[in-house]
Amino acid sequence: VTDQAFLFLANGSSCRLDAIPVHAMVDFIAAVTDSLAAGMRLSSWFAADPRGDGRLELFALLADDARNGLLVARSPVEGGSFPSISARFPQAQAFEREMAEEFGLVPEGHPWMKPLRYHPSWTGRDAWGRSPGAPIAPAVGDFYRVEGAEVHEVAVGPVHAGVIEPGHFRFQCHGEKVYHLEIALGFQHRGVERRLEGGPSRACLRIAETAAGDSTIAHGGAYCRVAEALSGGRSAVRADAIRGIALELERIANHVGDLGAIAGDTGYLPTSSFCGRIRGDVLNMTALLCGSRFGRGLLEPGGVAFDLDEARAAELSRRLGVAAREIGEAVDLMWESSSVMARLEDTGLLPPGTAAELGIVGVAARASGLARDVRYNQPYGIYRFSQIPVSTCDSCDVFARAFVRKLEIDRSMAFIEERLGNLPGGGLSSRLGAPVPSSFALALEEGWRGEVCHAAITGPDGRFARYKIVDPSFHNWPALAWALRGEEISDFPLCNKSFNLSYCGHDL
């Protein structure tokens, strides 16, 4: 069934829009649910107006990790609603609320139909029947409640205590114990996707770089590869290697920072202080490459804007060596401290079955034993030729999420070292033609948090009619809520750091 119902696409490829199979809604939903039941997962699930004539379609993008490709199908929406699959497949719940909010489409039978980002609909049609122009206040509305004697609710945010992004958290507690946590986001909603419509352009690249600013290379890279696929071009081989190095540097910097933050939240300051500084050293390695600590300006469709010359490669290698030694020392201190380990072990459990059901990606999935890694499952760019082992751990707790990070730091370092000694020759960037009209393209990257998925549809004029971004945090926020069930509320910061999810990446 699956093979006929879907078009099979490789990561970073494109097709004519009319090559994507179209089904009646009932068959479409059946094909999607059959595939999910067979173990595939939703990389993206979104609505679009591909021709700009108001005839909306649903698009499903399923990751077929076993066959290293993606399945795509679509269906026209009749009558402003479609059958929800969220009750059976919770991984769809945020996608369906997103469609409701953006296009006013009602997912019939959605178990928890509330706004996701709290913004007016794009089409003027409102899924909740609110009157047009009525103010929409963020995080106002129903929240799941636990009732009973001595049960209390703790509300936190949008403005938190630290230097972090805004979000609203509601804890249902009995004493110190958390029975349920509900997270309301949307405070960071800037309108990223709609600002990309009408592209591709230079400004679009810069916007993509800020989709989640700590994942500049992952989101910027996905954007570049979508633009390349749509124009039928490809990136320069040397650029692929440099992109890979930059993506792994981004991963190392953030993982080091996270390990420090996890140590900090257990009150263990040596690792926290050392890692806080070393993270900066790694960001400076990215700046050595392109002038920006976050990799801004490095990427461009077709390749990269900066070369990694021999002297720079040697300097990078030297700095990596120093960082490797210092990170090893800083993190070992934490592993060897029994009071830290006591806090990390068995805290914030996310069982593998739950992780799979929620559609969790990235570090969080791998720390729950799932071997999900775009670099391995959906190889692209340099990762087609040079594999990085998938780092997993099966203890499913805060320790596992910390341990997977350390493994990944080591493996990313080894990868970069190897690449630095084997940089392919040739140009830095290849020229791209105009994007092909009425086409579809997709690109997945393994950002440091997990799978970053970009998909674009061009209209008859060759401009983006729809640009869909899925940040790994979009999949993973429910994992944090789940992991906190049954925990002490005082363990929230620690659990939160172990996922370290993006607010702006979710809110877009």
Binding site: V163, R296, L333
Partner: protein, 291 residues
């Protein structure tokens, strides 16, 4: 315990001697204050707008000076009537609004005559919005707060940070100032958890509709006297998110923090380098005075 003491000895003392000594060495590709090789636009081909057209945020204005040399207006800019009053810009052919600039280098790459480049000058902070407009080189650098403010905040400046649509790059590089490499606590500057404990607000992000009220409330919760600092192109001008109002949430252009609260210090960048931010903070505290 012994291991952690030994590790501490091996890792060593790592706080930058800045501002008494040199700051950390910036990479050669660092893009700081923009430079123009031929002031007044004399080296530009007639009618060339390559840099302005390449700029993703409309930060570059060309030939925006009126013949009488009086007040001029940026083309396509909404808010900068005062721009041309800055004497340094009167003869400029090309001017940069560092409050919009992402320092992405797109202008440099687009320039056919290599007239535009970026220096490694990290000093970019200004106290006025107009002061951020430069015809090349640093802006009108920030000056110390009033004596009265300095007597209250000069040796202890507690800041509450609010991210209002920031992408977490500005947030991350503001946060880094508290790490041992920068240790801004040695100047009495510290991020605090509550606005009630704060002397000022540090804002990042273009201010989304959903954060406007929270930003306003946080500002109001800070006791007087207080200051506000806008960090990054988004917070200063809306950056990438001020264009194309129709695409914004609520159909609004996001215009940065200045549209909601009064700003005392602007720190340009996307994101600003920590050295740029620290330099700006130390300038308003009167700890760096050289121009």
């Amino acid at each position: 315990m012994l291991d952690s003491i030994l590790a501490r000895m091996r890792q060593g003392y790592r706080t930058t001697p800045f501002p008494k000594g040199p700051g950390p060495k910036l990479p050669d590709r660092f893009r700081g204050a923009p430079l123009i090789a031929s002031p007044g636009g004399t080296g530009c081909p007639a009618g060339c707008r390559a840099c302005a057209d390449a700029c993703p945020t409309g930060a570059i204005a060309i030939g925006a000076v009126r013949a009488n040399g009086g007040a001029s207006r940026h083309e396509g800019s909404e808010s900068l009537d005062a721009v041309g009053r800055d004497a340094r810009n009167k003869e400029a052919g090309i001017s940069f609004d560092l409050g919009k600039c992402l320092f992405c280098g797109d202008c440099e790459r687009a320039c056919p005559n290599s007239i535009i480049s970026h220096s490694v000058d990290y000093r970019l902070s200004a106290c006025s919005r107009e002061g951020l407009v430069t015809a090349g080189g640093p802006p009108l650098l920030a000056t110390p707060m009033s004596r009265k403010l300095l007597s209250v905040l000069g040796r202890s400046l507690k800041l509450r940070e609010v991210s209002a649509g920031g992408c977490n790059a500005c947030e991350a590089d503001a946060n880094v100032l508290s790490t041992i490499g920068w240790d801004m606590g040695r100047f009495g500057i510290q991020f605090v958890a509550s606005p009630r404990h704060a002397d000022g607000l540090l804002v990042t992000g273009p201010v989304t509709p959903n954060m406007e009220l929270a930003l306003e409330k946080t500002w109001k919760a800070i006791p007087e006297p207080k200051i506000a600092i806008a960090v990054g192109a988004c917070a200063i001008s809306g950056g990438l998110y001020c264009r194309d109002a129709a695409a914004g949430p609520d159909g609004k252009a996001l215009k940065g923090a200045g549209a909601v609260i009064p700003i005392d210090l602007y720190v340009p960048g996307c994101p600003p380098h920590p050295l740029t931010t620290l330099d700006g903070l130390l300038r308003i505290l009167g700890r760096i005075r050289e121009r």
